[in-house]
Amino acid sequence: MFTIFRDLFRSRGAFAAGALLLAVVVLVAAASLVSPYPPNDSFVVPPDLAPSWPHILGTTSRGQDVFWQLTFAIRNTLLFGFIVAMVSRAIALVVGLVSGYAGGLTDRVLMSINDTFIVIPLFPILVLFYFVMRDSMSWTLLALAMACLGWAYDARLIRSVAMSLRTREFTDTSVFSGMSTRQILAQEHMPYVLPIVFSTTLNNMNWSIGLEVTLSVLGFTNIDTPTIGVMIYWANQHTAMVAGIWWWIFFPVLLVVITFVGLFLLAVSMNEYIDPRSRLSRAAT
């Protein structure tokens, strides 16, 4: 595992760049642990200060320090993306592996559910979800809702691999040796699809963070939990752009763009490494 990362770091500029960008983002998020101000308190510092020492990224109209506010926001946003990715990956793995291996009726039922999730429009559903939940809407609930909507494409991908694995000799041997279906899927098939899952995880994080930011900016989430989107939402509420408080909007946007680019670069370079054909062509050059 370590040698793989070392090789990737040396051979792929994209991987190194992505890893560095993400490291910056994670460091900022980690800084929230030593923040001098609680995230939800307002008017703890003088409002509307331009970036200068000691408020390096300035302060907001609500009297909050932008930098420290940002550390909480990016931590929640990253965690959000991570939780959505993990939960949706778990669903995708189970559905994909079972569907591909079992075939027949099981496959047809699971795939019709899967295809339903692929075609339903996400954004209106999530907005509707917000209006239904309203006061009981929370950060965790939104994460779970998005996880339940974001697994379908990957389940199809995993299923296609599982279908080919089902006909391999080692699957026959596993069946012959008396392994249960659960054991075959968990021990023999899952290691095979994990690299693919790993790559789609990063893309899924990008997708969920993007959607969360969109919803928050529009105010369709719980605005008491600071996230990048919620920060921009508050900035808009206080007409930060008109008032000339540009740093209130600029730095959250910059940080989330850095996150996107970092995750994207990692996903792309991983993808090239995981696909044996592009790995070979890379080795040749």
Partner: protein
Amino acid sequence: MSNPVLTVSDLRAFYQTSAFGIQREVRAVDGVSFHVAANEIYGLAGESSCGKTTLIRTIAGAARPPLKVVGGAITFDFKGRRVSVTDADPKMLAAIRWKHLSCVMQGSMNVLNPVRRIRHSFIDFASRHVGEPMPVFLEMVRVHLRRLDLEARVLDVFPHQLSGGMRQRVAIALATVCRPDFIIADEPTTALDVIVQNSVLAMIREVQRELGSSLIFVTHDLAVHANLSDRLGIMYAGRLVEEGPTADIFRKPRHPYTINLISSLPRIGSDNRNKGLEGAPPNLANPPSGCRFHPRCPLAMDICRRENPPMTEHGPGHRVACFAAVPEKVQ
């Protein structure tokens, strides 16, 4: 002589599909009977698509739809423990597999999961059948690997890091590590070059002798059979057409198909051009009536078109299913 380890009687296994309202039936194994004695290597020969693999899949109890056993019986006798594969429930089959009955499948280089280390393949497939604690089991595996000229180091590598011959030996080790009474080998050496093939065959024989197990060995390569098998069964279009001691069959084949098969082998010192047999094996979804070989048979008679020839004794342990073959007179 003790009871045969495996008795197959009048086995019929068909591929049955019904898709889009069309029923199809491929009679891949149709009325096959034979037995395999203890400590014997039984060879099964025949051209591609004659039902060899179907037959042994059925014997291994690994018939999955669309393959279905339509009739007949398969009975194992593992030192007094009788198991009928055709009636046994899955639990019972699971209990005998690997411990008593194991299988080196076709393309056996692929029985190893490409993303798991060899050690895990052994643990996944075999350890449950041994019932020893893990360190004892792994020591057993190491000893067994040494028997097959493999270092214990191979346990820690991935299959793609081994050469074809080594992978083949690992596959054989995997199938034999539980000291089974009965081993089924389906073309285990077909993908190898002749030199590696030779050493692998010697190894199979050695392991078989040492464990005292019975072995069904399937290959279309008659040269391999000549080297390895004690007795040989020749299959044609889903039926057993001739069976006897290997030397006997090579020296004096009786069935016209076998005669042509044997004469197609190149012989040292012969300048004759080998003549091929006209035609192709029949479509098993719609086999010819009577003897399935009659459209290609040079000796075909009227009765061959109407009736299926029964297996008749033509010598000691030598059975032939042909109306035209005349039993040898006792001299």
